[in-house]
């Protein structure tokens, strides 16, 4: 079980959190301008890197706040947690 450092509550067990998938995916400003393929890319396509991965978590059984974390998908090492809308160590891309 991971130990996740909630930016609001501090380190807590993973079972208090819910996972929210890849971070920094912005909802398109104007969906109508997108082709079906571009919309599908926003909707379904996610990166699946081996290594450091910015992802979203929510402290469901705690403060109920969403935040971002950078987790290494190989070692599970969480190198940073930071608030929504903030830039992580990896930037936003």
């Amino acid at each position: 079980m991971l130990l996740i450092d909630c930016p609001w509550c501090g380190p807590r067990d993973e079972c208090e959190f819910s996972y929210g998938g890849e971070a920094h995916i912005k909802r398109p400003e104007n969906p109508d301008k997108l082709s079906d393929a571009e919309w599908a890319d926003y909707l379904f396509m996610r990166t699946n890197p081996k290594g450091r991965f910015p992802e979203r978590w929510v402290h469901t059984h705690g403060c109920n706040r969403w935040f971002n974390a950078v987790r290494d998908t190989v070692t599970h090492d969480i190198s940073a947690t930071y608030g929504m809308g903030e830039d992580g160590p990896e930037g936003r891309s």
């Binding site: 079980m1 991971l2 130990l3 067990d13 819910s18 929210g20 912005k26 909802r27 398109p28 969906p31 109508d32 997108l34 079906d36 919309w39 599908a40 909707l43 979203r56 929510v58 469901t60 109920n64 706040r65 969403w66 070692t75 599970h76 929504m84 809308g85």
Partner: protein, 1000 residues
């Protein structure tokens, strides 16, 4: 009652003043406090404990610990029974009852053992190859195989025992209370760090418990006692004996099971039987010791063949010596200890050493003690059918081959092939292992987490070095966490003997009988995997360790191959002609030893498994005799049978009353969310498909919520309470999901919006009055709400008092009839409900449950999200495309313009008019346009809701059918097991299609 004929008159850590009586296979025996079941059985001369998994060969005690592959028993009976427990780890208690497993009719006379005679036809992969075809016969094969091959029986009744879970944090978790673990704990404890020391045995000491070593110039066990005493005095140190750390997970999260009262037997003790620990440790010191490696030779599985360290342990720790003549077979120095221990008890000992003659302290001391040493030789096989009676030994010739066989009689064969560090937890933690060519074993290489290995677990086998390493690491790890304390001087053990001769890497001893010829050279005693099986697997191409494991079942028993894997891998590497490191090893996975489900579940069983939610009116429903239905965690009245009514009668009566006069429904389970803030209306615009800016205060609107994929996710009525305040209702089952959904969007995508969400599901109780008389009844209960049609039109809400209680009344309808949803603070719910029932008596007010509610809404073709929808249904599919706002964006809108969602042959909501009006189609039935004699047929849709409507005196069904809206009037068929149902596709609104009844 039998005398303990192999118990020595004194010595050991058992209490001879406290005898314990127990039964094994229905025979009574006696042992002592401090015994394990295994030691007590050995003391009583019970050689055969069980039968082997596949060949049903007699098997006895092989080890003295967690690695035991053979001596598995079924402990206790009835609901208390536990299968496959290791007799070597069961502490004896008064009245213990155990049985052998996997034998029929008895362990001493097992008919299945005939299989052993035909071993040649039961090689690895036998089942896969033999029982492949025909498929039809597989159930029969399976039954026979399961009876023949197998382990203990699972209990058939619920577990009556109590278990606990406990969570804790510590600075340093030390795993293993042997010499290195204790030294580490002492130093770490002295530093002031918060320390947990866990050991699987009933007392600390580890390997010292079975040895005759010395520490600080006195018996090692005196040192253990002194050290444990000191640790007990330390406020921040927690000692956990009888506790197995069985799993090592991410971020130094470890799980353990503490056997709190197992050693007391079946009792009414208020303490839990076991407690499972979840430990988050900043640092771990792994001092898990080592497991002795067996030798592989012909018939190496007979009762009386035992690991040398186990033989020493039974003698030293338990005062059991069941042999008159002992043969020790070794490739290393370690077994000389065992020889000396038995010699000390005056037993005749021969020591067979595969190494050439050498001069050293061990042989010198052994010879001086009178041990007969036979160098450069090997045990090539054992004799004795039910127990070892003797061994065959051969000397190695100049060419390395074995020469003439000679016989030595003995009744105990102690084998030692060196030691394998217990690296299971290290490997689970993500640490890598490397093959140490000097010590010939797998040792920790690179740690994946904050874990530090000491002692035998690291390949440090000498006591003095273990003490040193433990103390050093204990202090270092504590210091790294900023704990520095003053410690005592480190304990020392002088090395007893020097001139150590290295182990000779020889574990597999061929014999006259070719080791690949049949079941003779056992590698995995628990799963009956032999050298022949490994060779066969390699020949057939299963020559990677992972394939070998799965093809032969090597290491797949309940012991996970603790004594088998390394031998198996080294035999495979021999066959492949490669060095062991390049062959690799299989993955170690939790649990280290089996854990009972009860310990994992803890108190979360029965009513504590999941929260149960009851509405504030629940007790009234119970008294009214309601039958309840589970809706998520909620208990909802399903129907209210009167007298001897069955479900059908009750539902018919409830449906009729609701349409004819008045029905009353407890709708408190509806999800309710208050949405507040200046941007609330804009937020709703994004969440719902329809528009909210223009909704006036006091009005309600039905909203449809989509996922970003355009699929219907939830629906419900939302009302405007004030300019900046809305009251949203959701489906009962969707309440939590919708609330999280709204929060997610607010926090992650639109944080600039000023909107606040509050879940108020449990704050408001909802009582729904349905039917033409509901206005009259409500009028009697309120004097400050004007109920006329004009002042209180459909889809509006009013505030006032109902039965003297402040209420919000919503004129909405889920039945198509005049209806009022009265929301009152939950604590007043029962009084308002009772007031409605009392005042409604003259109208024959009828409480109705969820089943009648479903019938009433299905008559009207109203959908239920999750019943008519399944995550693949768009608003268009439901005929609700007119609700979609064209003036704004909303979640899911863009997806509705995808080619896929625009297809005209999507499944669409329709009604089904059955040819025979009394036929109620089973929900989920598949629909075809044309029938064929037998499946497969082309399916064009399926039934989502189907009921008998007492108001229409006919069945009603809703279905999703391809291009359904263009097919009204078409005939379709529903092929059933017995015959086919015929129906016409029709409008899904069966009752009051003009909606005239809404206003009463």
């Amino acid at each position: 009652m039998k005398r303990q004929r192999y118990r020595m008159p004194d010595g050991g850590r058992i209490d001879r003043s406290q005898p314990l009586h127990f039964t094994f296979n229905d025979r009574s025996y006696q042992g002592y406090v401090g015994d394990t079941l295994a030691s007590a059985l050995l003391a009583n001369g019970v050689a055969i404990i069980g039968r082997s998994f596949k060949y049903h060969r007699p098997r006895g005690v092989f080890s003295a610990g967690a690695e035991e592959p053979n001596a598995l028993v079924q402990l206790e009976q009835g609901s208390h029974t536990q299968p496959n427990l290791r007799a070597t780890q069961i502490e004896l208690y008064s009245g213990l009852k155990a049985e052998s497993i996997n034998c029929w009719p008895s362990v001493d006379f097992d008919l299945w053992s005939l299989i052993g005679l035909f071993g040649r036809i039961f090689p690895a992969g036998f089942y896969y190859k033999t029982f492949m075809t025909p498929n039809l016969l597989w159930p029969i094969y399976e039954r026979i195989i399961r009876q023949a091959a197998g382990l203990g029986r699972a209990p058939s009744d619920p577990d009556p025992d109590r278990y606990e879970n406990i969570n804790t944090h510590c600075d340093i978790l030390i795993i293993g209370g042997g010499p290195s673990g204790l030294s580490a704990a002492l130093k770490a404890g002295q530093s002031g760090a918060r320390v947990i020391l866990a050991d699987e045995q009933n007392e600390f000491g580890g390997a010292l418990l079975g040895s005759d070593d010395e520490v600080d110039g006195g018996p090692a066990l005196d040192w253990v006692e002194k050290t444990v005493g000191e640790l007990e005095e330390m406020a921040e140190v927690r000692l956990l004996p009888r506790t197995t750390i069985f799993g090592y997970y991410n971020h130094n999260f470890l799980t353990a099971v503490e056997r709190v009262t197992d050693h007391l037997g079946v009792s009414d003790d208020p303490l839990p039987r076991q407690r499972s620990w979840r430990i988050r440790a900043r640092q771990v010191i792994l001092a898990s010791g080592a497991i002795e490696r067996p030798m592989v030779f012909e018939n190496n599985d007979r009762p009386g063949v035992m690991l040398a360290s186990a033989a020493s342990t039974y003698a030293n720790r338990y005062g059991v010596c069941f042999a008159k003549r002992v043969v020790v077979f070794t490739n290393n120095d370690e077994a000389y200890r065992t020889a000396l221990i038995f010699k000390k008890f005056g037993i005749h000992v021969s020591l067979v050493d595969v190494r050439p003659e050498f001069n050293g302290d061990w042989p010198r001391k052994a010879t001086a003690a009178g041990v007969e040493i036979i160098f450069n030789s090997a045990v090539t096989g054992t004799r004795g059918r039910r127990k070892v009676k003797g061994v065959n030994i051969s000397a190695f010739g100049m060419d390395g081959n074995l020469g003439e066989t000679r016989h030595l009689s003995c009744d105990l064969l102690a084998v030692s092939g060196g030691w394998n560090p217990t690296v299971h937890l290290y490997s689970q933690s993500g640490g890598t292992l490397t093959y140490d060519k000097q010590r010939m074993c797998l040792i920790p290489e690179k740690a994946g987490q904050a874990v530090n290995v000491v002692g035998a677990a690291k390949g440090t086998f000498e006591l003095e070095r273990c003490l040193k390493e433990g103390a050093r690491e204990g202090a270092r790890v504590a210091k790294n966490l900023d704990f520095v304390g003053s410690g005592s001087v480190r304990s020392k053990s002088k090395t007893v003997l020097e001139n150590e001769q290295p182990l000779q890497p020889k574990w597999l001893i061929p014999s006259r009988k070719h080791p690949e010829g049949g079941p003779s050279h056992f590698v995995d005693l628990q799963t009956d995997v032999t050298v022949a099986d490994i060779a066969l697997a390699a020949r057939e191409g299963y020559d990677s360790v992972e394939h070998l494991k799965r093809y032969t079942t090597l290491g797949m028993g309940t012991d996970q191959g603790k004594t088998a894997n390394i031998n198996g891998i080294s035999i495979l590497s021999g066959i492949r002609g490669e060095e062991l490191p390049s062959v690799g090893h299989t993955t170690f996975r939790p649990p280290y030893t089996p854990v009972t489900f009860g310990a994992l579940a803890g108190r979360q069983v029965g009513q504590f498994l999941d929260p149960l939610r009851r509405t504030p009116i629940h007790h009234w429903h119970t008294r009214a005799g309601a039958v309840f239905e589970n809706v998520g965690q909620w208990k909802r009245p399903w129907y209210y049978p009167v007298l001897d009514e069955d479900m059908n009668d009750a539902v018919v009566r409830e449906c009729r009353s609701a349409r004819k006069s008045i029905g009353i429904l407890d709708a408190s389970t509806l999800g309710k969310i208050e949405i507040k803030g200046p941007d609330a209306a804009d937020f709703l615009n994004l969440i719902y498909v329809n528009s909210w800016n223009n909704l006036e205060v006091g009005r309600c609107r039905y909203g449809l919520m989509l996922g970003e994929d355009g699929m219907v996710m939830d629906d419900g009525v939302t009302s405007r309470m004030a300019e900046d305040r809305f009251f949203m209702t959701t489906t009962t089952g969707g309440a939590a999901r919708v609330y999280s959904w709204l929060e997610e969007w607010l926090q992650t995508e639109w944080p600039e919006m000023e909107v606040y969400l509050t879940s108020v599901t449990e704050n408001w109780a909802t009582i729904t009055l349905v039917g033409p008389n509901s206005r009259k009844l409500l009028g009697e209960l309120t004097d400050d709400i004007n109920l006329d049609l004009k002042s209180f039109p459909f889809m509006t809400w009013r505030e006032g008092k109902v039965a003297g209680v402040p209420a919000r009344v919503f004129r909405v309808s889920f039945t198509g009839d005049l209806s009022f949803e009265i929301n009152i603070p939950a604590r007043y719910a029962i009084s308002v409900w009772t007031a409605c029932m009392t005042a409604g008596e003259k109208y024959a007010i009828t409480p109705f449950g969820t089943e009648a509610m479903h019938v009433l809404r299905a008559e009207k073709g109203y959908i239920v999200v999750g019943q008519e929808t399944d995550g693949t249904v768009t608003p268009g599919d439901l005929g609700m495309e007119r609700m979609l706002s064209k003036k704004k964006d909303f979640i899911g809108r863009r997806s509705l313009a995808r080619v896929e969602t625009l297809r005209s042959d999507r499944k669409q909501l329709v009604g089904l008019d059955t040819e025979d009006p009394s036929t109620v189609i089973p929900i989920g039935s598949q629909i075809v346009a044309t029938t064929k004699k037998r499946p497969p047929m082309d399916m064009i849709g399926y039934v989502t809701s189907s009921y008998y409507s007492p108001n229409l005196k006919r069945s009603v069904a809703l279905a999703l059918v391809k291009s359904g809206r263009n097919r009204h009037g078409e005939r379709v068929y529903l092929p059933m097991e017995n015959g086919t149902i015929s129906a016409l596709i029709c409008n899904p609104v069966f009752f009051d299609p003009e909606g005239e009844r809404l206003n009463g």
